[in-house]
Symmetry: C2
Subunit: 485 residues, 2 copies
């Protein structure tokens, strides 16, 4: 979910409002409109209204305290002694870590959700150091990691390093096989610089193509060339396309990308046959819609991809293929998060491997689907690994999405699970009408996930559902028998 520049909503600018709320409205989501996120959008965005009924049944509450009171560790907790442990007690190193979505979980636009500040007070020790590994995972991409880390530092009152931030395009750093190729980049903001920052050394922009081939961009009549330009002969052959995020002037971007794909990277040329498979396309951030200040969701990069895919299909009769889809809910994003978690553990000198990740998010289709998909991947990888040990075969790939299991070969595989925790301070609002017949609701549900991520009810159902990120941290501490400061 992308960030928005908004005025402070009531629930983020002052004290935490009373939780819950009656009727059909979620008091935590005033930005989404007077009646909260209305039913059809809620269904469409999350594809999981029918699951809310089930999820609510096991909605977690702190076990050791009333909701309004302070929380104390469960009496049975003997194991978790993280942070500044009582004198004489050795702190046990963490064996779990957190992946936090940003928008809708920690902030809403420019404003901090108070529960986030509360949560992070629990996560740091008396020196302000994190007691467990934490990575921030956002599908935003029109900015720099450094800037996002600084924003988070200011918002949460602790020092967040760029190495803890995953933007939608950050995992591109892993795609080394393309780093020396000539790549066309599409998006707005610092796309060219972002591409170079994640390792691409040979980048051309949509504007470069437009300038070199002025006869291609013809939709805007006022920008058509007045005279026939000389043919361009020295433009490099484009070897791949990276879609960073939604661009400006979609007609220009769509036309030039289609030209590049149909010409095998030489948009001034014409080929007798459609080159297929076309040159590789890597796309970051699949979010179809996102919530800003308007009452209805706004177009995200996923909407641009819908246009590109369908134009390509209409023109060629064939499917646009992605070399990789990056950003939540893609597996590679979670692989990269695991990689960063491991780096943190090594930097901190924590001796124990991380066995469990908890992914906290507000978007069932992005955060929850992604975490659950990665959890399935981990289970499959463990089983395959066990089989391989017996038979000497290689690790099998995941059937649902792209597999980059070779990335995990570089480090000792310790991660066993990735649990999803849904919060209600963003896109998802659980106070809507739960249908009496879940089956009927499933039929009516609109799937807002990407074309290549099939709808699977099991993947949009969160492992846990809580009110906000503070409750999420409390939940995990209880599950892990982890002591609070």
């Amino acid at each position: 979910m992308l960030g928005a520049v908004v005025p402070p909503p009531p629930h983020t600018s002052g004290p935490t409002p009373p939780r819950g709320g009656g009727g059909g409205q979620c008091s935590s989501c005033p930005l989404i409109g007077g009646d909260g996120l209305r039913s059809w959008w809620r269904m469409a965005l999350g594809c999981c209204l029918c699951r809310a009924g089930k999820a609510a049944l096991r909605r977690w509450r702190p076990s050791g305290a009333s909701r309004a009171g302070t929380w104390a560790p469960p009496a049975s907790s003997q194991r978790g002694l993280g942070g500044a442990a009582p004198p004489g007690v050795t702190q046990i190193p963490p064996t779990f870590g957190f992946l936090f979505d940003i928008d809708g979980v920690l902030v809403r636009g420019r404003y901090v959700i108070p529960a986030a500040q509360e949560a992070f007070r629990k996560l740091v020790d008396s020196n302000g150091q994190l007691r467990v590994p934490v990575v921030f995972v956002t599908n935003a991409g029109n900015c720099f990691r450094q800037a996002k880390a600084q924003e988070l530092s200011d918002a949460l009152g602790l020092e967040v390093s760029p190495e803890q931030v995953i933007l939608s395009h950050s995992p591109l750093r892993l795609f080394r096989q393309f780093h020396e190729k000539c790549m066309l980049v599409c998006g707005q903001g610092p796309v060219e610089e972002n591409a170079r920052n994640v390792g691409f050394q040979n980048v051309v922009t949509i504007q470069d193509v437009r300038k070199a081939f002025p006869l291609l961009d013809m939709v805007d009549q006022s920008r058509r060339p007045k005279e026939l330009p000389p043919p361009t002969t020295d433009f490099p052959t484009i070897e791949g396309v990276i879609l960073f995020g939604e661009p400006v002037r979609w007609e220009t971007n769509l036309q030039l990308i289609i030209d590049v794909l149909l010409s095998n990277g030489n948009p001034g040329a014409e080929l007798a046959d459609v080159p297929y498979p076309h040159i590789p396309v890597l796309a970051c951030n699949m979010d179809l819609l996102w919530m800003a200040e308007a009452k209805m969701p706004r177009f995200g990069h996923g909407t641009f991809l819908v246009c590109l895919e369908n134009i390509y299909k209409k023109v060629t009769g064939r499917e646009l293929k992605y070399e990789a889809l990056i950003g939540k809910p893609s597996i590679v994003t979670y692989q990269y998060a695991e990689y960063l978690i491991k780096q943190q553990v090594e930097r901190q000198g924590w001796p124990s491997p991380i066995c469990r990740l908890y992914a906290v998010g507000d978007n069932p289709m992005s955060d929850i689907y992604g975490a659950n998909l990665y959890n399935r991947y981990l289970q499959a990888a463990c089983q395959a690994h066990a089989k391989a040990e017996v038979k000497g075969s290689v690790v099998t790939t995941n059937p649902q999405s792209e597999d980059r299991s070779e990335l995990r070969k570089d480090w000792n595989v310790s991660l066993e699970s990735c649990k999803s925790i849904l919060v209600c301070t963003g896109v998802y609002n659980h106070h809507g009408d739960v249908p009496t017949d879940p089956h009927e609701s499933v039929l009516e549900t609109v799937f807002h996930g990407h074309r290549d991520f099939c709808f699977d009810p099991g993947l949009v159902e969160a492992s846990y559902m809580v009110q906000d990120v503070n409750e999420a941290v409390e939940l995990v501490f209880e599950k892990e028998n982890w002591i609070q400061e």
Copy 2:
């Protein structure tokens, strides 16, 4: 097909080049690239490469002369005595008329195709007056009829009146039920004025909506509002949408149109359920692609419609519905052409009704498909009319497209047929490789027609196929036993 501003291609700036040409190249189509329109584009644009083989078998040649020589009327011709007939011979009034496509038939961009000037010398009498009714039918729409009539007058050397020109949106004049409603118009150029010119009295533009609801257009980060604007309360409820042609900044237009459809015409509001059917949408010009100076075709308005249809489907799970699709190959465009032909006949005082139309075009999917579809409609209408006379029932509707048969009730139905004539001076190039197995080719063919116009091989097969518009006129004169000047 839309017009392009291009320098004079060899075949339009000088004497008519030799016809035919060897190998895989059509000498009449130098703008399409050195090798003519390559096979996959040719197949995709026209969906009729497999038909070319069949059409070529009955490719028409003037019967009374060699191809390079002058043509003389057939010896048997006694009936046709149009124009300035020989002294003592009474001119028989015309019983047929012409529909001419413009781009690719009469002109290429700013340059006249010489065969067009030759053809029109045959069509006028010694006073420069047309001897048969003629209407010019183009899918262009970002201009005024007056301007297009003036361009044609200059190009063809005769006075063309605006009443002889049908732009893609011209038939909107017939949609009187919307003329007093508040309509959102989308396109570039003089869309607002064009809407008013065809009868709409209450028009708002995309820019009006954007200005009134600044929180809606959020894709371009540089254009987002810096401060939260006050809510707009006095904007009229939009009652319908007219898509005139491809706009500029597709992301803005797509977002606002979707907002209008999902809010029942009140884009600042939010509804609990998707209003369906949505408010009426009328779309002009369905052309997916068109040929300009670039070697590969460029996006037309049909590509914008592909985006709109697929975003609507992805977001709501439902199909975008069109109240009307206007412009070739839509039936209503041919109904309007018939209406204008009848007006010409009345103005000229020709006593005979027009029984046969000949539609000359270069685009199988637009000109040929449309003429054939209208021909089917006429046949069905004639049969239904005959049945109705017996049974007293109403005329049945056409199953393939929208039916506005009530339009034809206003005038005496005399038209019996609409024959299609394909020329090779534009999109279509018949000198490509004809597949040895037509069935195989059909399977490989990509359908570039609009979603709501199903592919039907019979509809893209021209009644006749000739080299250029001059041959088309000679063919019709021969068929009609019409004497030349």
